[in-house]
Amino acid sequence: MDEKDQEILHLIEENARISVAELAKMVDLSVEETALIIKELEERKVILGYATVIDWTKVTSTETVTAMIDVKVTPKRGVGFDDVAERIYRFSEVRALYLMSGAYDLSVVIEGKTMNEVARFVSDKLSTIDSVISTTTHFQLKKYKHDGVTFGDNDRDHRIVITP
């Protein structure tokens, strides 16, 4: 992958809504070249999607509950953890899933409307999977930083208007 590709990736990772025209100027390529690079990166599945980081706590009617669940499983012969992982990530409640080293095997991030909903998912769906040995549920209390973005307004520009 060449330098310009990476530069473009960094820029759109930070701001997916930046226009191709702006992007092209910043990386010093033509609009056509830039559009082509993005298209290729999408086709090669380097770019997997364009997401928005939203502070849902500011939208009163839409509060959600997020929990991180440590899951211990017995890996199956031949397919290791992949099989059980797939069974878990297919649930739409699952926002993220990672295989971990250490005290447990899978880290599952669940999002639900209420604590009850998450609890029900864990007891009814997750714990009942054959190879799942145990689960430990941690509810998130507050989001300070997510995907590199800090929540809160302390990034104000403190500089005076004109300086040498």
Partner: protein
């Protein structure tokens, strides 16, 4: 005796000779208004990287609140020496060739005071940073301004230099990458200058505070040219590269005899640079370079953006190879740079700095700092474009 007369003899002749900074006047106007998009800021828009701030907090927690050695903490001077060797292939001895100063600003001041005798002439290559000429005057010297022009991409030409030299010339002040033009000079171009400097036995004050912000190719230091190290004082600091303007921390390197003369002034006027800032700077040099790289990358992208956008709205702008300023020409509008900047501020609420405040050669241009968010740049370009259409 009238009160007026009394006042006129209260301040020194040297101080009376210098004018208040043109930037100040514009600042007062701009701060009296709100909803301004400012391209008038000569400093990074990044906050000092967290590792550096954290090192300062931790040094305070451990109680490091006393003076340091006059020349600065030894560990920091070693750090600076290593940094200069690694980044710019410059070799300086931390024992006697480096002083940690209160900003590059203090370094400029004590360098001039250490070398100037009354009446000595100092060539100031303009347009340039606002402090040089006044500080030459305050040191008892006479600033001789040489105006570079957009035709030479604001580079000093050998002929210009030769024409400015007189028997009284003691030194020349260079600053590349330049504030406000963003111009850089290559080693080949500096070599021509170096020949003349040597022939006339001058000292070079080379302010290289923007060296990290060199976008096309590598920064060239005149001290790297054969035999120039012995007659060059390099001024630099942490303000720009590490986004540490408010910390007031700079440094200066040069041949031991000049540095020792500068240290005399520094030890009586400043004692030492702020201790907590020095602790932060040690961390900056050790663990801050990745942050510097990211910031420089971002400035470069914004440089590309603003220069192309200016061209699109019909504002001719040479390609600045360094620093974080664009210096487009507004000659086509028929306005003076002061009028242009003032009207732009009043009508479209965009603050830029009129070029003439940076000395001769600056008239007909405006300084636009692109050390601000892309959203601000976009909006500023839209407003400047609209302003130009109305003219």
């Amino acid at each position: 005796m009238t009160a007026k007369l009394k006042k006129s003899i209260r301040t020194s002749k040297l101080v009376n000779e210098i004018q208040p900074s043109g930037i100040r006047k514009f600042f007062d106007l701009a701060t009296s208004m709100d909803n301004i998009i400012s391209l008038g800021v000569g400093e990074p828009d990044f906050i000092t990287p967290w590792v550096i701030r954290e090192a300062c907090i931790s040094s305070l927690e451990r109680g490091y609140t006393s003076y340091t050695a006059n020349a600065g903490m030894y560990e920091l001077r070693v750090g600076i020496a290593n940094y200069l060797r690694k980044q710019f292939q410059l070799s300086y001895n931390p024992d006697e060739e480096i002083i940690v100063t209160v900003g590059a600003s203090e370094a400029i001041d004590i360098a001039l005071r250490a070398i100037i005798d009354p009446g000595d002439e100092v060539i100031v290559v303009e347009p340039t940073f606002v402090s040089y000429a006044p500080l030459v005057t305050l040191s008892g010297g006479k600033p001789i301004s040489v105006a570079t022009t957009v035709e030479s991409n604001f580079r000093l030409t050998p002929t210009q230099l030769i024409n400015a030299i007189t028997p009284k010339t003691k030194a020349i002040m260079l600053s590349f990458p330049n504030n406000p033009t963003g111009s850089t000079m290559t080693s080949e171009e500096l070599l021509e200058i170096a020949k003349i400097v040597e022939e006339h036995d001058l000292i070079v004050l080379s302010d290289e505070i923007y060296a990290e912000m060199t976008y096309d190719g590598k920064h060239a230091s005149i001290a790297n040219i054969k035999d120039m190290r012995e007659r060059t004082i390099i001024i630099s600091g942490f303000s720009k590269a590490f986004a540490m303007t408010g910390w007031r921390l700079g440094f200066v390197t040069g041949p031991a005899d000049i540095i020792s003369a500068m240290l005399k002034i520094h030890q009586y006027s400043m004692m030492c640079a702020p201790t907590m800032a020095q602790h932060a700077a040690i961390e900056a040099l050790q663990n801050g370079m990745e942050d510097v790289r990211k910031m420089v990358q971002s400035y470069k992208q914004r440089r590309n953006y603003i220069v192309k956008s200016f061209q699109e709205i019909g504002l001719p702008c040479h390609n600045p190879g360094g620093a974080f300023y664009a210096f487009p020409s507004i000659k086509g509008t028929g306005l003076t740079s002061e009028k242009f900047a003032e009207q732009l501020l009043l009508e479209e609420r965009v603050a830029v700095v009129p070029g003439h405040v940076f000395g001769s050669g600056g008239e007909g241009h405006i300084r636009c700092s692109y050390a601000t968010s892309l959203d601000n740049l976009k909006e500023a370009v839209t407003r400047i474009g609209r302003f130009m259409e109305k003219l």
